[in-house]
Symmetry: C2
Subunit: 117 residues, 2 copies
DNA sequence: CGGGATCCTTACTGATACTG
DNA sequence: CAGTATCAGTAAGGATCCCG
């Protein structure tokens, strides 16, 4: 394919940006975890554990830590007995909402297309 | 959080749909591969190998096969010497374009936010 | 050029048990 | 409840060589 040099640069940058996104959202669970928190606004550890079918507490703990490091979720310890920990999306994390919504819609369509044919 | 039962059902379905999407798009490379094909419309094996920084031919081969199975990409063998294989998105694959674009934009923003601070 | 086959290493993941 | 620690299996990924 023949492209203007400027076009090629543009595509390279776009590719890099996509990679950057995927570096943050990598792994089997991250998107699902974000979705869970996103759909409910605030969510406790054990709730997310239930929402995300199949995840282990170890994985959830690890993934949440990474998401927190990337400033996508905020962790709040509530002073209850026993202790409760609440997760919510940061402002930055909330900017993923559009993508989550699209993925939700796309997932439904895909299921129809592939599984339902 | 107190929710109407209907709300809970809705969230569960949304979570499932997200999972379905991620099942198809799993792995470190799929999104990047789709992006490469998407941005260039048509793309050869070795071109994608170059676009997606760090991927090995084995992985690319495997991932493309899976994407083909899920009817997201179409594989065309061109009768050149030596052989050329061209990949393009199917109609169904093209419905991911919106998500790719959002991920591109989000990646740029995220880089500013995290790396550039 | 576009892969497949092989070997090898590391990363991911799950199950279970345990702690504050 | 919200994790951590340990162990152990599986899968992902890379490097290299090979073939039509």
């Amino acid at each position: 394919m023949q492209c203007e040099p400027l076009q090629i640069d543009k595509h390279k940058k776009e590719m890099m940006a996509v990679q950057d996104s995927m570096d943050v959202l990598n792994g089997k669970w991250k998107i699902s975890i974000i979705s869970s928190i996103c759909y409910y606004n605030k969510r406790r550890f054990s709730d997310i554990l239930n929402d995300v079918a199949g995840i282990s507490n170890k994985m959830l703990s690890k993934e949440l830590k990474e998401l927190e490091m990337n400033q996508l979720v905020k962790r709040t310890v509530l002073d209850t007995q026993p202790i409760t920990v609440q997760y919510e999306l940061t402002e930055h994390g909330l900017t993923l909402k559009t993508i989550i919504n699209h993925l939700t819609d796309w997932g439904k369509e895909h299921r129809k297309k592939i599984i339902g044919e």
